[in-house]
Amino acid sequence: MAMLDPYRGQWTRREAAHLMRRACFGVTLDQLDKAVADGVDKTIDTLFKSVPTPEPPLNPADNSKWIPDPGQVFTKTVVLSDRNDPSTSTAYDLTKGSGYYNGITKVWWTMHMMTHAPSIQEKLTLFWSNHFATEMSVVQNGIFSWELLTYMRANAFGSFKGLARRVTLDAAMLRYLNGNVNTKGSPNENYGRELQELFTIGKGPEVSQGDYTTYTEQDVRAAARVLTGWREFGGRDLVLAANDRDYRDNEPRTAPLFPDNPNVVFVVANHDTTDKQFSLRYGNRVIKGRSTPQGAIQELDEMLDMIFEQNATSEFIVKELYIWFVNSDITDEVRQNVIEPLAKDLRTNGWNVGPVLKKLFASEHFFDVNLRGCQLRSPADLVLGLGRAFPSWSLITDKTLVGRYFQGFTTALASQQMDLVEPSSVAGYEAYYQAPDYYRMWLTTATLPLRNGFTDALLTNNTALGRKPIVDTVAFVGKLSSPEDSLGMIEQINEIMFAAPFVESTVMMLAEEILMNGGRYYEWAMLWNAYKADPSTANFNAVRTPLDRLFRYLFRMAEYQLG
């Protein structure tokens, strides 16, 4: 059976939970059971539909709007008459700094990732923010980073080539990888290098000095020269923003050229108009130098065409998607039967990622029992997955505490080393490229204790919930069939929340040593039945204490770290 054939095996909570963990961090028990009832095909169809995006966040300090409407340049509304006087701005309070606004974006995104209906869109957006990596703390402009993220979300299922083009001329990226200072006579190679090494064609083995199989140092320099002259509009340095000259070198510059990307301009004098000679790796292609803004766009498009004509580019991105969603170990068999066919699909369908991923998720290979648990949960899988499985945010009555509730999850992601839009470098989070450890990079003697601290806290009373825990174990267990049967209950929990089945002795150990604290497994039925017959405080506590003890242990088990 071909590995990419549609999956036709059994479809129970176990398979559905595997799909949901990988596609959208996790789901509630009700959502899981709906997927089981819908069947695999319909569930995957649903996962590949866009979900509505909530309104952009306001500034919580005064509920003011700080994100401009699509296509609007915020700088137009806040041109400063005096560079040193931020009080002349209104829409984007410069005194608060980018860290403040980026913090709002992170909490807002955490909330959206935790609350949206089952869909692959947000985990895919997180993939793009890791693939085309930027660091908010380096970009230092809350609006630029917001807009890049918004573009990635809106085009998450769309054209990889389109994303690459947009990212190349993105304001946040121009800042992050020094496109702003990439000029004729002094080309800055930073973006030209990463475009090839990390974003598109990928770096192969260095076969001779400066020759990385897929491209060479010559191509890095040539790409940098193609991209000379592009800049972001000016961000916080707004003195001359309304002018037709760039404040950095006082050279004439264009008005924004792209209606949907208004923060990018072109400085004609900084563009290298000579021809760009690429290496043998690109068939010795020469890109003709041009002198107008439209000509520079043409140069960029010719260069992207040249890069995307190489099969290595489609294979590189499919490989990254595979590592993100499936497995880090790409065997020859996987390369031939999964990566290469999907890469071909991508090349022939107009570079649309959605259909390619859908085929992968619907395949026999994706559901292969031997691949279950081959990943370790990323912080997003752990933190957001639990947040999604136990959506207690719906119980918050005091709306002023909503932000605090989600901020706890944002902070947990950061401390476990998955700070949103803050990877450790332009290569993204190490767990997705650092061989041979890959996902194991997430789990160290420093981060495992933090994970334990996080899951422990879910069982303690939460202020925002009026002193109720985020994970209500009694309510959760009450939804299972025959919750009075401790062994059956643990088997069901395993099926829903664990990637690999427990062996029989583990189930018994959990029932007797943990749940019953040294008692016999069948004694649980008495406690549960007493509670069902009379849910008094005493009877409630008699089941809550053992269940909390059980869940605290389950979340700390090595088995739970498998994704």
Binding site: V181, E206, S424, S425, P436, M441, T444, T445, A558
Partner: protein, 536 residues
């Protein structure tokens, strides 16, 4: 397991086999055969590793601009003309010697220099340098050639050779503490041992570490039937076990010693070194600590627009200098300074010519710095030759594996055969640790007593031309010979009476096949040797 494992194991066993199987002549020209692996003096280092020696590795992530860290005053004109927009004013440079100085913000380091506690090794990189941060970091961490994808780390392999089977059976009476500690959320490749196990544990703060770990129960033994899931569970359980076992000893050590010197605040490097000082003084037997400071990828705004002595790079160097100086003062006050050596490194230096964004692009060779009481003070190598560049980049003076070999040999007392295994080849050493610190260094002593020094061969490994440096402090009859690895004479480079002075003898290896050669310097009746590797 990792898909890379089979390749790595087969290569390692290949090395093990060849080093035992090749028969060499016992003696030739009066030199024992061991000389082929490095200086003859190495034989005298065959002592058991001292367990109280501590190495602190300071990683400067992003590619530190070596030319603005260690500034070539003797070539100031060239320096200034190639990087006029970021050049440090000549009269502000803190002088180490008349020819060489350091960045003006590095006042603390300059104090340590004047107290003879600092060493600079110039021009360190490797043949065929890679300009990618990620690849070059991997090369430095793994301690392998640039065309080899090695998945274990250089210090991890050394520690693994000292503590075989780790982590099975650890902690134990001989090593009750973590073998290595990285003050970060993750452990770097440098600490990865032969079986791809990390020889180090990661932690950020002993107190929090202890609190979070203390609630964990001992993990079970049951495993699911599928292979990948079972391996992952085993991995997590190992991390759980290590956290459990080590959290108590680490906390105890940290509680035992308090810092005796005030560290600078808002300094990410000082925050880490501050804990290292407590753990060392608190009695942990941990051999290696890894600390890091990021932000050195200064493509733009490396210096301030108005003053090249300010800006990102100045801030970073100030942090490095202040953090390391405070650490040194602290361990001196705590009485453990004799046991600690600190070494800085970065994945590469930066392009010689600056760009117009007041920054520098990725480059190659750069200085490494050593700090500490046991450090042999001085500058090894020469100011970089900025007129003879390779694609705008500096040429190699020393292979970083020479420096690693020197540290392993002179600080940890590793045997030369072990070093050869660890670094996948023989590398000649330079003197970074004072004589007498590890063991008696008779040849070096003899050289010093006789007023001459066989200083270095650079580059080494050599591709086309090597420069053999030696210093005479009195006139001597000098003979300089090269032998191949079977003891056959290859060339006589010098045979004459020479006056006192500094000599640099060029030697073209164009006609020689790749391999290990030995260069022998003979003065009157005394000899000194260094290995030279020809790699084409």
């Amino acid at each position: 397991m990792s898909k890379n494992t089979p390749t790595r194991l087969s290569r390692r066993s290949f090395i093990a086999r060849t080093s035992g199987a090749v028969a060499l002549p016992m003696l030739f020209n009066g030199i024992p055969l061991q000389a082929f692996d490095g200086p003859v003096v190495n034989d005298l280092f065959n002592v058991e590793a001292e367990t109280d020696r501590v190495l602190v590795l300071v990683q400067l992530n992003g590619g530190n601009d070596g030319l603005n860290t260690v500034i070539p005053l003797s070539e100031y004109g060239t320096y200034q003309s190639l990087r006029s927009n970021i050049a440090i004013a000549e009269n502000k440079v803190l002088k180490l010697t008349n020819a060489t100085g350091i960045h003006p913000v590095m006042k603390g380091a300059h104090e340590l220099w004047s107290e003879k506690k600092m060493n600079v090794v110039q021009g360190v990189t490797y043949p065929n340098p890679n300009l990618s941060h990620f690849r070059s970091t991997d090369i430095w961490m793994s301690g392998s050639a640039s065309n080899v994808n090695e998945t274990t780390g250089w210090i991890g392999r050394y520690l693994n050779s000292e503590y075989p089977d780790y982590p099975t059976g650890y902690p134990n009476a001989k090593m009750p503490d973590p073998v290595a500690i990285q003050m970060a959320p993750v452990v770097s490749l440098a600490l990865t041992g032969y079986q791809n196990q990390s020889m180090g544990i990661a932690l950020q703060d002993p107190e929090t570490f202890y609190k979070l770990v203390s609630g964990t129960d001992a993990p079970g033994n049951d495993l699911p039937s599928t292979k990948l899931a079972a391996e992952n569970i085993k991995y997590v359980r190992e991390v759980q076990m290590k956290s459990l076992e080590f959290s108590t000893v680490i906390k105890a050590a940290a509680d035992k010693a308090q810092n005796k010197f005030t560290y600078p605040t808002s300094n990410r490097l000082a925050d880490q070194l501050k804990i290292v000082a407590r753990l060392v003084a608190g009695g942990l037997k941990t051999r290696v600590y890894v600390v890091q400071l990021g932000g050195f990828d200064t493509h733009a705004a490396q210096v301030g627009a108005d003053d090249t002595m300010t800006g990102t790079h100045a801030n970073l160097l100030q942090m490095v200098s202040e953090a390391i100086t405070a650490f040194q003062r602290d361990i001196e006050a705590l009485g453990v300074a004799d046991r600690v050596v600190t070494m800085t490194f970065s994945e590469f230096g930066r392009r010689v010519a600056s760009n117009q964004s007041l920054g520098t692009d990725h480059g190659t060779a750069a200085p490494m710095m050593f700090f500490g009481t046991p450090v042999q003070d001085g500058i090894i190598g020469t100011n970089p030759d900025m007129k003879n560049l390779d694609n705008g980049n500096l040429k190699m003076q020393y292979d970083f594996r020479q420096i690693y070999a020197s540290v392993l040999e002179q600080w940890f007392g590793a045997k030369k055969a072990a070093i050869k295994d660890i670094l996948f080849g023989s590398f000649s050493t330079v003197k970074v640790i004072k004589s007498g610190t590890t063991s008696v260094d008779s040849e070096e002593n003899a050289q010093q007593g006789n007023a001459w020094t066989f200083q270095s061969i650079a580059p080494n490994p050599v591709k086309s031309e090597a420069f053999i440096r030696y210093e005479l402090r009195a006139p001597h009859q000098v003979r300089l010979d090269v032998f191949d690895n079977l003891g056959f004479h290859v060339a006589t480079l010098v045979q004459q009476q020479q006056d006192a002075g500094q000599y640099e003898q060029p030697f073209s290896v164009s006609g020689l096949p790749s391999g290990t050669y030995m260069v022998q310097l003979t003065l009157n009746n005394e000899r000194a040797h260094q290995a030279m590797i020809v790699a084409k």
